[in-house]
């Protein structure tokens, strides 16, 4: 009988947390695999326009990004407020676009080259002159597949 009475007075046993690290590690690995680190540090303001007739742009390795917009406030002293192009991590001129496309093509496998798309991430406030210049350069480089990256929403929000 003494065997039983001893247990009756005892407290609730603590929950075993030995498997907690395993669970956390599992979550950790999931997020590590799912994470895509931002490749480029933006040096420009990049408020994308809204559109609703959009297509998805998967296969991130087949996309070349060209950014354009006004320099961010901390670069405005040096580069002014005129909209500029950003390729990779630095500001570029219109004439650099062709070279950039060739360099990107070089780094991809040959059979993937026809599937390459150029994503234009351009700020809403940019003038079309700059965008047309970029497009003209892309035509010269024969990078004809382009995608104007947008946010999803009504176009009327662009006018605000």
């Amino acid at each position: 009988m003494a065997k039983f009475t001893k247990k009756m007075g005892g407290e609730l046993p603590a929950v075993n947390t030995a498997s907690l690290p395993d669970i956390v590690f599992m979550l950790l690995f999931f997020f590590m695999v799912a994470t895509v680190m931002r490749q480029n540090t933006l040096m420009i303001q990049n408020k994308l326009p809204f559109a609703d007739q959009v297509e998805k742009l998967d296969k991130k390795d087949l996309v070349m990004y060209i950014y354009a917009g006004k320099p961010s406030p901390r670069y405005q002293q040096k580069y002014g407020t005129e909209a500029r192009i950003q390729l990779n991590d630095k500001f570029a001129e219109v004439s650099d676009v062709q070279q950039f496309i060739y360099a990107e093509r070089e780094s991809k496998r040959e059979e993937l080259i026809p599937y390459l798309t150029t994503a234009l991430k351009v700020d809403v406030e940019t003038n079309m002159g700059l965008v047309s210049d970029i497009k003209q350069e892309l035509r010269k480089a024969e990078a004809l597949k382009i995608n104007y990256t947008t946010r999803i929403g009504e176009v009327s929000k662009n006018l605000e």
Partner: protein, 202 residues
């Protein structure tokens, strides 16, 4: 010398370390795919090609000026009316004989486009036009094509064109892809996207 067993490592803080890493990755993760309007640029033309003559009535001119105002077929227009105007132009089907369009449901106005195959939308920008306006106009024009394509796909196959295209591009789609591809092509040929962009005026 006494034989000592190796002391056990205290693993109590392992969870804390893992949590720290977990929170870091949670914060930095962006699970998103970019979306946007896909377009194809025209290749640079060869010098000695004479452009084909196009009837004025088959061209739908959209001009955007530096104040982001729209001039559609010589009339001022609000952005919200543009899609409807483009649909009416594309779907007009005013042609007769060879150029007749048997699936068009438009007004068949002889002064507007003959056939969706002939109808061209021409977009002219100013260098000072804002990119936001340009994208809005592009979106509305692509929207007009999608409205018509969806209507025809719905009539012929009881399914939206956008859905057909999505299935066609989905590698995990387990229907008959060949048939679907043919249907997508057919709808595309009914209303081919002929959107021409002139180089901007300054």
């Amino acid at each position: 010398m006494a034989k000592r067993s190796a002391p056990e490592v205290n693993a109590g803080s392992m969870a804390d370390i893992a949590f720290l890493l977990l929170i870091f990755f949670l914060v930095t993760t962006t699970i998103e795919t970019d979306r946007g309007i896909s377009r194809k640029l025209p290749p640079i033309p060869v010098e000695d090609i004479v452009p084909p003559v196009i009837k004025q009535k088959n061209i739908f001119t959209v001009i955007v000026n530096r104040n982001n105002d729209l001039l559609v077929e010589d009339q001022l227009m609000d952005l919200k009316d543009l899609r409807q105007a483009a649909v009416e132009f594309l779907d007009n089907g005013g042609g007769a004989g060879e150029e007749a369009c048997d699936y068009c449901q438009g007004l068949r106005d002889p002064s507007s486009s003959d056939n969706p195959n002939k109808a061209i939308i021409s977009l002219v920008n100013d260098r000072q036009t804002k990119y936001g306006t340009y994208i809005s106009v592009q979106n509305e024009l692509v929207g007009a094509y999608n409205v018509l394509r969806n209507r025809e796909a719905q009539r012929l196959y009881g399914m939206d064109y956008s859905e057909m295209e999505k299935n066609f591009n989905d590698p995990n789609y387990n229907g008959n892809k060949e048939v679907l591809g043919k249907r997508v092509d057919e709808i595309q040929n009914m209303y081919p996207q002929k959107l021409s962009e002139a180089e901007p005026k300054s």
